[in-house]
């Protein structure tokens, strides 16, 4: 890394090399990634409202700037200037901590996700990367539960409880649907998983069932429609964030959209070839991108961004299409369909891999 950018690297001359490699570069990359992600997350809220407007044959926000494009700047300003109301019976400490809890894992996960050809676009490449991502995303639920409990409001508490039950239930198929991919690629490193796909085919073909389960589970994990029961406005006012206003509400909102982005990145990396456009090693592979220099690396990033954008639109599309599930239907779908299906998928994948290997050997 320091060899590719000698000018910048010379600035760190006095710092020992391991510090530069393991602390300084990842920090710089993460700060840049953080700024970009905050921008994307804010922009997604505008895109969501415009796309939903289009789907529902209405305009959506179009007043601030040309075609309403500055709405995503106006919204945070509005939220920052709003009065911050704390309910009288709230559990003060928990009420203040709750909005911060989901946002930390949601942004920390971006350290582990490669956005383009490594090493330039991958902040880190940990050999248990995928497991760490699952672990971090699974802790995001605490803010929602705690926020619901600390608000001293029965609708909030119900929203928080629904969220806890839902996220625990759907974490199981979420994790199990990935196992098939892991068996095919034999690694927990995301870079390695993408590498295996460019040498063969995208995992979505051999793992169609796994991909479907992942898609459903990832929508349920971030509490998006049709699984948005924790904030079902027709039943629970606004669910767990009923009592939150101003920037505290914005933090919950940011965490939800950041988690959406994480899940969209994950499905692209796990099932849709990441930043590559290649079959059986032919086409735009990581290697060709790296030999093309900065142009190729940027191309890889753009391919990745385009794929992720598709899944972000898909989330919005779901919201515009499906009615909300009833709670007992949600649990039934999770426990009686998704989990058994994921287990069958694992067993079948294992048998096929064994047969192919023994047949080929």
């Amino acid at each position: 890394m320091s060899a590719t950018l000698p000018v910048v690297a010379s600035l760190f001359g006095s710092i020992p090399e391991p510090m530069v490699q393991w602390v300084v570069w990842p920090t710089i990359k993460f700060v840049i990634a953080f700024a970009i992600i905050m921008g994307i997350v804010a922009f997604t809220t505008l895109v969501e409202r415009r796309v939903l407007g289009f789907m529902q044959a209405r305009l959506g926000p179009n007043r601030v700037g040309p075609q309403g494009i500055l709405q995503f700047v106006a919204d945070p300003i509005k939220l920052l200037l709003k009065e911050d109301i704390v309910p009288a019976g709230a559990q003060k400490a928990a009420y203040f901590i709750a909005p911060m809890l989901p946002i930390i894992p949601a942004f920390l996960v971006f350290c582990l996700i490669p956005f383009g050809p490594p090493p330039t676009f991958a902040i880190t490449d940990v050999n248990v990367g995928l497991l760490l991502i699952l672990a971090l995303t699974s802790t995001g639920v605490y803010g929602i539960i705690l926020g619901g409990w600390a608000s001293n409001n029965k609708f909030s508490l119900l929203g928080g409880l629904r969220s806890a039950a839902q996220m625990v239930s759907y974490e199981v198929p979420f994790g199990l649907s990935i196992v098939g991919v892991l068996m095919l690629s034999g690694s927990l490193s995301l870079v390695e998983i993408v590498h295996r796909q460019e040498l063969g085919v995208w995992n979505v073909l051999p793992q169609l069932v796994g991909c479907f389960i992942f898609l459903v589970a990832m929508t349920a994990e971030v509490n998006r429609a049709p699984f948005d029961l924790p904030e079902a406005e027709s039943e629970l006012v606004a669910g767990f964030h009923t009592e939150y206003s101003g920037m505290k509400f914005a933090f919950f909102f940011l965490a939800e959209y950041a988690s959406m982005l994480v899940n969209a990145c994950l499905i692209v990396i796990l099932f849709f070839g990441g930043w590559t456009l290649a079959i059986a090693g032919k086409g735009l592979t990581t290697e060709t991108m790296q030999t093309m220099g900065w142009l190729g690396l940027s191309l890889g990033f753009l391919i990745f961004a385009a794929k992720v954008a598709f899944f972000m639109i898909l989330y919005i599309w779901f919201r515009g299409t499906f009615p909300r599930y009833r709670f007992d239907q949600l649990m039934e779908l999770g426990w009686k369909w998704m989990i058994p299906l994921a287990l069958v998928n694992i067993v079948v994948t294992g048998i096929v891999i064994l047969l192919v290997r023994n047949g080929g050997a």
Partner: protein, 229 residues
């Protein structure tokens, strides 16, 4: 991988700080009077233990610790505590004869453990890094001579890559039977918990369940009923 920072001072400081937080928060787990606060401090303890695992090079165990304990078990704990809505417990006298007995026992146990550890006479851990498998047999092929008799077997091996694979090798190859027995125990415990926890509903409770949840009416019939079609 060797210690990437090559700074033993940093990892020592990390151990001291994180260890202190872990101990302090586990004391708070038992001393807090509000069950939700206790549960949150237990969560903090689990996270600190996970950091300690990672700092000792056991990334896999650390990640699993967060995934299982922080992501699953503690969420269910909180769920139950909030659902039954336990109020804060009344203040209690802390220094009773019973609790002082407990402190005494704790100090005694600490002294015994300290003596054992200081003497260094314990048997080496079974899963010490040097006992973990470092190579895997990929395949064995018999080498045959012209007559068809096997002269020797050729073995292809490769190195175990990373923490996850080493743990997997230990669990699913070297200690497969104990692992399966443990999983059977867990299953029995789970079935037992369900059997003990389940009770027959009496008639009035049976009535209280909405028909569509008790599945006396199918969704299609209910839809017809509601729409009047």
């Amino acid at each position: 991988m060797t210690d990437p920072l090559m700074l033993t001072g940093v990892s020592l400081a990390l151990f001291v700080i994180v260890g202190a937080i872990a101990v302090a928060s586990s004391i708070l787990v038992v001393s807090m009077r509000n069950p939700v606060h206790s549960a949150l401090f237990l969560l903090l303890t689990f996270l600190c233990v996970a950091i300690l695992f990672v700092s000792m090079g056991a990334e896999f165990v650390g990640a699993v610790q967060v995934l299982v304990y922080a992501g699953g078990i503690m969420v269910l704990f909180l769920f139950v505590v909030m659902l039954i809505n336990v109020k804060a417990l009344p203040k209690e006298k802390v220094f009773t004869a019973t609790s002082m007995m407990g402190v005494l026992m704790g100090v005694l146990l600490f002294i015994i453990l300290a003596i054992i550890l200081a003497s260094g006479t314990w048997a080496p851990a079974v899963n010490a890094p040097e006992n973990l498998r470092t190579a895997v047999v990929v395949k064995t092929t018999p080498v045959v001579d012209a007559g068809g008799a096997t002269i020797q077997t050729e073995t292809v091996t490769r190195d175990v890559v990373g923490n996850a694979e080493a743990v997997g090798m230990a669990l699913y190859r070297d200690y497969l039977v104990p692992f399966e027995v443990a999983s059977l125990f867990l299953l029995v415990a789970m079935v037992g918990a369900i059997v003990i926890g389940k009770r027959e509903l009496d008639a009035s409770e049976e009535e209280a369940i909405p028909e569509f949840i008790a599945k006396k009416v199918s969704d299609e019939d209910r839809l017809k009923e509601v729409t009047g079609a």
